[in-house]
Amino acid sequence: MKVLCFGVAKDIVGGAELNIEGQHAQNVSELKEYLNKTFPKFLEYKSYMVAVNQAYANDEISISDSDEIALIPPVSGG
């Protein structure tokens, strides 16, 4: 599963794209759990959102390898 990373998320995982091997997450909530475990630094920051196919996604939304998944830390445009 490929995950796009932006802002501070990019710094935390060490790149703009994270490749997650194996079946670790079937929905957004499980993905966050996996990321918090793998990169405990995420826990130091305010909550981040996950986008699935370029739209904000709730914890219950299912995800698969064919989806475009992105980590959205608190936005700060403008």
Partner: protein
């Protein structure tokens, strides 16, 4: 909704107030409200040297288009232009421009405020603030 009412752009070169103004300028309108977001030197007592913006471009365009459509429907705007900068922006540089045109001024003022407030809350764009002694992603300090 006709494309000639909405102009959304994310640009890596300096933004043009004229471009946004000219897009919304229309003989049906009696008022244009322009919001221009610029880079200031002092933030919470710390001295800023420059900002760096990055975006999740495809999604940012979608979210900005949503804001523009809502602004037109909710306030009865005639047209709206929203440009956001990515890359390095120095002091006094322009980070964002919103131009809203309507028959009368009230709708333009209100829609412009709605658009910039919602952009700041929802659009996946991030700014890194560079200070005299370090840098950090705004809203993401541990």
């Amino acid at each position: 909704m006709a494309d000639n009412k909405i102009d959304i752009q994310i640009l890596s070169k300096p933004l043009s107030i004229d471009a946004c103004y000219n897009f919304v300028l229309n003989e049906k309108c009696g008022g244009i409200d322009l919001f221009v977001g610029t880079v200031r030197r002092w933030n919470k007592g710390e001295e800023v040297t420059h900002l760096l913006f990055e975006s999740y471009e495809a999604m940012a365009i979608k979210e900005m288009t949503k804001i523009a459509k809502t602004a037109i429907e909710k306030f009865g705007l005639e047209s709206i232009s929203m440009h956001h900068r990515v890359g390095q922006v120095d002091l006094e540089g322009i980070a964002v421009i919103i131009a809203a045109a309507s028959k009368h001024r009230k709708a333009a003022f209100e829609a412009c405020e709605y658009a910039i407030d919602t952009l700041k809350d929802d659009v996946p764009i991030w700014k890194k603030e560079f200070l005299k002694d370090g840098s950090y992603w705004v809203n993401s300090r541990p």
